[in-house]
Symmetry: C2
Subunit: 501 residues, 2 copies
């Protein structure tokens, strides 16, 4: 069995090398690549993606997995080797259903679409993106159809991002959540809005950048194994466990945009940097699911990064960085400003209370597009209507409406958004468990020390990478299944106090 296992690992390492190379090509495409490089880059990404896929679906991998089944069954299920064989088999069985030529076509198309979006979004030009998005929807449908037997056409796509979930389960969860959230949002938006003028001053990029780096260094983000660069749309990417990079954007007229993007991406990166080194180069060396990944970005961005204890320590440092802008602004005013709840246009800048409404409308549109109940040409209008109904405002343009997120323009439609809300819910559940287990965490955050929290998360969540499914991980860490109560309790407590509800 040892020989088969080694051969499997060797082959998986080769797949990982190709995928990591493709990730670097994508990172470069959004950070430093000159415009003239775009056409060839799309082709190169398609070639690497196709090769990685070919190597993963090689029948020899199937043979090795079959041969290794008795070995797997003899091992404890939570052992590294049993987990590797089990997770690889799941990946393999999905991958063999998708023809390599389709993967290449999808990769070429999404690279071209992404490039067009970087021009069309600032130009507020949905018409330019319409043919791309139509093809994307069509390709997404084809992708789902490689997995016949689904209940809803989005199910296979949701399963890629959040294994084990379906359109029906997500819909049910979102419905429960919506029932709780809408009254809270309504109560708050009926109050006088928080004053956030202090955040809308001029904050020079260089100082913002330095402050953000200092904050995430205290989170425990390891710059020896990472770096931060600038992009249109912030993201985290990994080329190996020793090289986990984040990107951010900076707005000089609003302190929130860059700072909270940095904290958010650092949360993703802490997860990846925290994976055990001996899982390197295997399919286990990444996050469990989109939802669990978002639980960490949202935990560090919001539960830590928008909390009063965090700013008790960091606010004096921020004031020292921007004495003219913030020297006379009290901590309480700042704290209220960064937690201002409002009807806003942009998902990634939305407050914690309304954020999920942004996600739910996107999720519903994904289902409708895939079902064929909504045509791409009708999407901008549908967006405006639903936005007015859910958020009480109408986007003045498509740039800050339907064009705002990269997802549909740089990848398939379906499964792209539900992870954000799942992340909010799970993040609160993990954080409540952490605070119960290690009550000293709250006091440490006030002193600018995040080590206990990060160590606890690393021990319970990060180190395992993808060994456990989302449901297994929740069970192991919190002792139960996904529950919305900790999240709702957190929102009620925090915003109840802030808005004296």
């Amino acid at each position: 069995m040892e020989a088969e296992l080694q051969e499997l690992k060797r082959r998986l390492l080769e797949v990982d090398d190709l995928e990591s190379a493709a990730s670097l090509l994508s990172w470069d495409q959004t950070t430093y690549m000159p415009p003239g490089g775009a056409a060839a880059r799309g082709r190169q990404l398609a070639t690497l993606g196709e090769l990685a896929h070919q190597k993963l679906v090689d029948p020899e991998i199937g043979r090795l997995l079959d041969a290794l089944r008795p070995h797997q069954e003899a091992l404890p299920p939570d052992s590294d080797d049993a987990s590797l064989i089990r997770v690889t088999r799941r990946d393999y069985e999905k991958a063999i259903k998708i023809p390599p030529s389709f993967m290449a076509q999808l990769s070429r198309h999404t690279a071209a679409s992404y490039q067009a979006w970087t021009v069309a979004r600032p130009a507020d030009d949905f018409a330019a993106m319409r043919p791309y998005l139509e093809t994307t929807v069509e390709l997404s449908r084809q992708m789902a159809d490689f997995f016949p037997g689904y209940e809803h056409i989005a199910d296979p796509l949701i399963d890629f991002a959040d294994e084990g979930l379906t359109a029906a389960t997500v819909r049910a969860l979102f419905s429960d959540l919506r029932e709780q959230l809408v009254p809270i949002a309504r109560a708050i938006t009926g109050q006088p809005p928080a004053d956030d003028t202090s955040l809308r001053q001029h904050f020079p990029e260089g100082q913002q950048w330095a402050f953000g780096l200092d904050a995430i260094r205290r989170f425990g983000y390891d710059f020896n194994r990472g770096r931060q660069d600038k992009t249109h749309h912030p993201f985290t990417t990994k080329f190996s466990l020793g090289d986990v990079r984040i990107t951010t954007r900076v707005a000089e007229h609003d302190l929130r945009e860059g700072l909270f993007a940095t904290l958010h991406e650092a949360g993703h990166a802490l997860y990846e940097q925290g994976i055990r080194g001996d899982l390197e180069g295997t399919p286990l060396a990444r996050g469990t699911s989109s939802g669990v990944h978002e639980s960490q970005s949202r935990l560090w961005e919001n539960l830590v990064g928008r909390s009063r204890p965090f700013w008790t320590f960091f606010y004096p440092r921020l004031q020292a960085t921007f004495p003219e802008q913030l020297g006379a602004v009290p901590l309480d005013t700042f704290y209220r400003a960064i937690n201002k709840v409002e009807r806003s246009l942009i998902r990634v800048e939305a407050d914690e209370v309304t954020y999920n409404l942004h996600v739910m409308l996107r999720f519903d549109f994904e289902l409708a597009l895939l079902e064929g109940k909504l045509a791409v040409r009708d999407l901008p209008e549908a967006w405006r209507e639903r936005f007015q109904a859910d958020l009480g405002i109408t986007p003045p343009d498509d740039r800050d409406g339907v064009l705002q997120d990269i997802h549909w323009y740089g990848g398939p439609v379906g499964g792209a958004f539900q992870g954000y809300t799942l992340g909010n819910v799970m993040g609160a559940q993990f954080f409540a468990t952490a605070l119960d287990a290690r009550p000293e965490i709250a006091g440490e955050i006030e002193a600018g020390r995040l080590d206990t929290l990060r160590a606890w998360l690393t021990e319970r969540v990060y180190q395992h990478g993808r060994k456990f499914t989302t449901a297994e991980l929740l069970q192991r860490v919190t002792g139960g299944p996904l529950r919305i109560e900790p999240y709702i309790a957190y929102l009620r407590r925090k915003y109840g106090e802030l808005y004296r509800l």
Copy 2:
């Protein structure tokens, strides 16, 4: 034939995509990669290199080349298709002699060696590099031995860089050149040295950077299809004809280091950016040889960038950039300073007259290492002795001695250096031909216009990529073979005037 040709091109494109991806991984390794990424990066580069090699040596390529032979023979030899088939066959016949596993081993080793060198050079620690270099020499010998029948063990390695040349032909050329150069160098170094204190002031990096970019923009370097970043060792790299990047380093205490590195690399990049777009993705879409490539970097760096006409235009701009440092320094003093001939330690900073002596000693050491006449452990001492004999000074340490160049620490030993001197010789030959053909060039340079020169070089040299061998290109462009006379005449004229010989 059309189907075979299309299939050949498709396969070559895939090889090119893998090689371009590897180039990006290398570029990132030297520009932005955090230290923690090094181990995996070496492995990823090895995987990509191995795959590219496997795909190039696929027997199907051999079959297609055989099938295409009648097609090739029916076409004019200088047609694109005939050239593609001919050049691919040469590459293929070389590549099939090297086992893929050897390529992977070499790639892994040179990546590790490069990483070690980035630490060992600043630490002046040759002992740390000795085991790496010993392995490199051994692997270089093995590489040569895949090509039995050579006269000298370096011949196959020289042929990789400068096809058609051998140790014997390079030695003969270097001997002739040396005979002419040494008396010139001796006559100059017997004179009072030029005063270069004006260049050794404090020049802030940001302004140096901006000035360099402005200069190469006027060369015609297209920033829409390229960019400049910082590295330890400047280089040019290409990910597609639409993405040709250069790197440089900047010394704030010496204006020469960064500026002339930028001009040098821009010369390489103009060559690559000037290749005809329809050669994209084929083995023709690169420079003909190491020597011809260097002819362009040295032409733009020296024949243009260290000339009086060039600085007649650019010096007032440089003074405006650095008014405190250069406002009171006359053009003539500056021109003498940037052309100061001296016994110096560093090849890339050496003046045009002594530069070739630096190259020749490296070339001789490569031959001696490969022949086994010189052991790696004796190299630092041999370096010091030969340096004293040839240049009249002894390096005080290995950092600025045998450790100074990346070549032996990031690639094979053999064939790494002769191209620089060949480039000096050919650059002068091309430039003299250009000035004969278009006498207006000299006057245009004085007005800061480089278009005619660049257009002439693009038309005669760049656009063809690798369609012609070095010898064929020289014949087509200059009407004859390689000749040292234009280079010697240029040096005598320029330095005769500067040093009143």
